[in-house]
């Protein structure tokens, strides 16, 4: 098992002929992912590394099963691409694009929830179920992806794409490995938050613990803490909080768009307090995460 994607998941890439998307297509195919089609308006009939290109999402969904779509189109057209995928019946949409205006993201998220679809991102590197498939640029080339993401028991959720790989690598080196890792996106408004993904990990037999990477800004950590306090979890959760120095600099912007500290609840100090109160261990360093998880996983048996 794993969450969101497995070895059989079929997906398409919107914006497949873009420079970065061409590289990503190669890496995904090398990893064994089932990329069944691509969309770039006006490029119907071409192919990218053997993947057929169409003008519209519907042209693909009408003739094949499409479980998901990666949206890798420029910011001005990205929200439209997400709406197109949802309308065509695609249920999982990974939005790689950065700098999409917030109102457009909000509209796509509301439409997705109305149609029973799920959005991951925007401004993310995607999802990987190690050894099975990946959707997005996460991990990079197939061989480096295999090195950093060894199949295992820990679910990873991270607001930073790069740190998803760093944490997965630490878990892999420690012998725990990863069930599914989700780069949830660095923007203030994203399609799937920690709290919204928790029930999926809960239902996944392979997953025995959760590692999360957090940052200043936004209510996402408070939501997770509230979710854990209310529902509890069979899964031990260990969090790492970056950007502690930002507490001293309200109003300054560092890191992702979502990190700006606008109020007291946005600071790392407040977030750490809330997470700990909800029973979540907060690691001081990345390399502490595997041991903290192992203790808790073994303690729970």
């Amino acid at each position: 098992m794993s969450i969101l994607i497995d070895a059989d998941s079929t997906f398409i890439i919107q914006g497949i002929t873009g420079r970065e998307a061409v590289t990503m297509t190669r890496e995904l195919l090398d990893y064994g992912a089932r990329v069944v089609g691509g969309v770039t308006p006006g490029r119907k009939g071409r192919d990218v590394h053997g993947v057929p290109v169409e003008d519209t999402v519907r042209a693909l969904t009408e003739r094949m099963q499409v479980d998901g779509s990666i949206v890798a189109v420029p910011p001005a057209f990205a929200a439209d691409a997400v709406l197109e995928a949802i309308e065509a019946g695609v249920k999982l949409i990974v939005v790689v694009t950065e700098r999409i205006p917030r109102a457009q993201v909000a509209r796509a998220i509301e439409y997705a929830s109305q149609e029973g679809a799920r959005i991951i991102g925007p401004n993310c590197l995607g999802v990987i179920s190690p050894g099975k498939s990946k959707m997005g640029g996460i991990g990079g080339a197939a061989d480096s992806t295999r090195r950093a993401f060894v199949p295992g028991v820990v679910g990873v959720m991270s607001r930073s794409g790069g740190m998803t790989t760093e944490i997965a690598n630490a878990l892999s080196e420690a012998g725990l490995g990863v069930s599914t890792a989700v780069s949830i996106g660095g923007d203030a408004m994203i399609g799937s938050t920690y709290a919204e993904l928790m029930p999926l990990f809960e239902a996944d037999e392979q997953t025995q613990g959760i590692a999360i990477y957090s940052e200043p800004g936004g209510p996402m950590e408070a939501q997770l803490a509230a979710h854990m306090a209310e529902h509890g979890s069979r899964l031990p959760v260990v969090a790492f909080m970056a950007g502690r120095f930002m507490d001293e600099m309200p109003g300054m912007r560092f890191g992702h768009a979502g990190t700006i500290v606008e109020g007291r609840a946005d600071t790392t100090a407040d977030k750490i307090a809330r997470l700990e109160a909800a029973g979540i261990a907060v690691a001081e360093r990345i390399e502490e995460i595997p041991a903290l998880l192992r203790e808790r996983i073994e303690g729970a048996d």
């Binding site: 990079g140 930073s160 950007g243 990345i286 390399e287």
Partner: protein, 405 residues
Amino acid sequence: MRFYEHEAKDLLARHGVPLPQRRVALTPEDAATATSDLGGPVVLKSQVLSGGRMKAGGVRFADTPEEAAEAAEAILAIEINGLQPMGVLVEERGEVEQEYYAAVTWDAAVRRPVVIFSDMGGIDIEEVAEQHPEHLSRTHLSNLRPFSDFEAKLAVSRTGVTGNELNRLSRIVGALVQVFLAYDLTLAEINPIGRLAGGAFVALDSHVDMEEEARGTHARLLAGLGIPDEDTRQARPPTEFEIAGAQVDAADTRGVAGRVVEFGGNLGLIIGAGGGSLTLFDAVRGAGGDPANYCEIGGNPSVAKAAALTKLVMSKPGVEKIAVMMNVVSNTRVDIMARGVIKGVIEAGRDPAEAIAIFRIPGSWEDEGVKILERYGVEYVDRSVSMHEAAQRAVEKAAAGTGGG
């Protein structure tokens, strides 16, 4: 990005929100002229990108041009939360009978815009929410259905306001929603809306923030308001070093080498990317290090770009050593980064073996990168050494370097 009050009011005026007559004054003489133009008692307000103006003495009253000039002179001399005022807003002053609060912002938890309204304006809205919840309404808007006027009416009515006031306030709140939606704002606030003796309503103070990403979309509007591109509207104005960093990033579209923020320490940082930079900056400080700068490198920058940023950091007075560190990278190439930082150090007239305290970038093309690093005698570590351990090593070497010369 935050707008000055007078800019915020110009936006509101475009959408029909009633406002006091007003002028922006840059000098005490301007303020005196503005006051005689307005012809009556005025209020003068510091135009500064910070709250707490009243408490700091940035708001004063005047009845004559002479008093206004004096008040403006006093206000212009006051720095508020480390920020200089750009000028003074001179406004006609009427007798206010009651104050209201209205704001539109994103409720990040439900991912919809929310209209917040209260008939207890002018005071801290958090306090109203806690002490007098029945005087505050929260009305969420749909992202899919276009905004309609009844939603503004609902927001006002929920606090118990009715009669003629309901209709007048609803119009202001509706206009505020239009402003919020039209300009990709993250906050559109009027606090307070004043009901004047005689029954007229006016927006007395306003705070507006625009989403940073939307600056390009609204370039013409910003130009019209006289806001140049390099005006970052951060909590403090950019330093020369930071402006130079932004120029390095803008000069080459390949990859990102930006968000340079200046600090006063001796250890230069070439770090990436978004989350990695936050983690590494904490790690350096946690190890007792004193960073000279913050930055974010990612997305596979060119050799030229990495070199230019390195040269900039290396040339900063007081910087003896730099630490080159990232999380395990997916897209950025290790060998390209190795070439870039070595080139930048040499162009700054320094020896890479001495100046680079540590190189920790694990990932693609790592073996090729190692060949380059070894050729120049640069100390490097692979992924078996954590980000925090690498930072610790860099801090130790920086401390030793300062002591030993």
